[in-house]
Amino acid sequence: MMKPEPYVVAENVTFRYPDGTVALRDINLRFAEGDFVALIGQNGSGKTTLSKCLNGLFKPTEGRILVDGLDTRHTSITKMAVRVGYVFQNPDHQLFNSTVWDEIAYGPRNIQLPKAEVEERVREAAEVVGLDESTFEQHPFFLPKGLRQRVAIASILALRPHMIIVDEPTTGQDVKQSLEIMDFLTRLHEERGHIIVIITHDMPIVARYARRTVLMAHSQILADGPTRSVFAQTDVLAEAFVEPPQITQLAQRCADLGFAAGTLSVQEMLEQFRSLAARRRA
């Protein structure tokens, strides 16, 4: 298989806030076609700053970020918005139109698309997130939180960014709602080929959905690789104050019995248990 060309390349990126705080230190990172990535780490480890650098809201103080071959420092915010979409954690911060329709159409209108095209994109984005037509004329402010989040995601989708970053998609949602949102992001990934990055503290969600995990701590990247192998690095996780999912912890504590440190699901655990038990009986 041909190795896919990276869509985003961050080279030696350092970011300093105007008051001098270093939020990112010498970050090297690539995102390529087919990536479904979880960005994890403590609050304040630099996850959100990194994401805002990736879509050009912040410009790196040192180093550079290339998105689709364009240097974020010299690319207009409009050009960036159609390449990397960023969904903010609190939907209330990004809903400012008086109807759901206008809210989703805001982006496409901003890049001055013809009216027919705007309409097509709004309908499509609404359909993807499962908003039906009855909501179009409603005020986003009146919708329940779960729906507000969907409107927020749809408003980003309407710009058709190739890469979508979602900041804490599951905060405040119950488990069922979280799974729904994640399933829907997975569909976007599989059926439409979007590169998806989620920022989250929810480790079972990471284990279940993300093929690749980037672990951040102290403004740096501590680990980057297949989720399985990142969760297997117990010492690195401990350094970043991150605990893997419970089932992974169980496997790790029983590693001497033959369980794999990178066990991600109950199903995998059961299979290992059965083969180990069978071997013991033999």
Binding site: Q42, N43, V175, K176, L250, A277
Partner: protein, 287 residues
């Protein structure tokens, strides 16, 4: 043990909705117990919390039927001030409850409202500050500290009022894993050292289960299941039908039990430690 909180066919319907948020529920909570309340969003968990400390019906518009007794008296028979000395409430979004300019002001606000003498305020500060480990933050604006610290400040400001009953409404949703663990450590100490009655509404079962004596499943306004924690999780199939997703260890052993690979009469392990020990027994027997 006596019931410190008792719901008697209690119903609350917000005036903006048609369905009641809590529908004729009966529930008793024992003194000194730690009770975990779980259920999908929209099941009435927050309504339950607000009904205990009187925010419902005082701050919400709606229709109330039935009774809620707190320490033997109906909620509405208390004045708000009396009630807040008995029930402390910690909200899910700590930021939303900060109204002072420094952490110190935030923590003493409730005590000042109670009219405590300055010496007593100082004594309580000396107790609650190390308990919640907020000493270094006292001089900072409460909204400028980190998420986990915010939640501990919120907890401290409620604990300082020394309520015998503590209600926490999703206290860790906004927190990273470390912050989450530290909040539960504080609850652990409260349980061990002060025998408070604590009601925790929480999605993160991993931390809740080792702490809780009792569990309650709320499902769209109804109490579907209320029991001690171990027997509660023995009914996992029922729970999973009602959108409860157990932590990996519980689920793992549940499947083993179903397949006859784990003794049917043995309790399900509820923590990683427990699970590790059980797993070693299972595999170590012939090893």
């Amino acid at each position: 043990m006596s019931a410190v909180i008792r719901f008697e066919s209690y119903t609350w319907r917000y005036s903006r909705t048609k369905q009641p948020a809590l529908d004729a529920i009966d529930l008793e909570i024992e003194e000194g117990a730690i009770v975990g309340v779980i259920g999908p969003n929209g099941s009435g968990k927050t309504t339950l919390a607000y009904s205990i400390n009187g925010l419902i019906p005082r701050q919400e518009m709606g229709v109330r039927k039935g009774k809620v007794y707190v320490m033997g008296r109906e909620v509405m028979a208390y004045t708000p001030a009396e009630l807040c000395q008995r029930v402390g409430l910690v909200f899910s979004d700590p930021e939303a409850q900060f109204t002072a300019m420094t952490v110190e002001d935030e923590v003493v606000f409730g005590m000042e409202n109670l009219g405590l003498p300055i010496e007593e305020i100082e004594r309580r500060l000396a107790w609650v500050v190390p308990l919640t480990e907020i000493g270094p933050l006292m001089d900072k604006p409460p909204y400028e500290v980190s998420g986990g610290q915010k939640q501990r400040v919120a907890l401290a400001s409620v604990l300082a009022m020394r309520p015998p009953i503590l209600v926490l409404d999703e206290p860790t949703t906004m927190l990273d894993p470390l912050g989450r663990r530290r909040v539960f450590q504080v609850l652990e100490r409260l349980k061990r050292e002060y025998q408070s009655t604590i009601i925790v509404i929480e999605h993160s079962l991993e931390h809740l289960i080792p702490l809780a004596d009792h569990m309650v499943l709320l499902y769209y306004g109804k109490v579907l299941l209320a029991d001690e924690t171990e027997p509660f999780f023995e009914r996992l199939a029922f729970l999973m039908e009602h959108d409860v997703f157990p932590p990996g260890v519980v689920e793992f052993f549940y499947h083993l039990k179903q397949a006859g690979e784990y003794p049917a009469d043995a309790p399900l392990p509820l923590t990683v430690e427990d699970g590790t020990a059980r797993l070693r027994e299972l595999l170590g027997g012939k090893g």
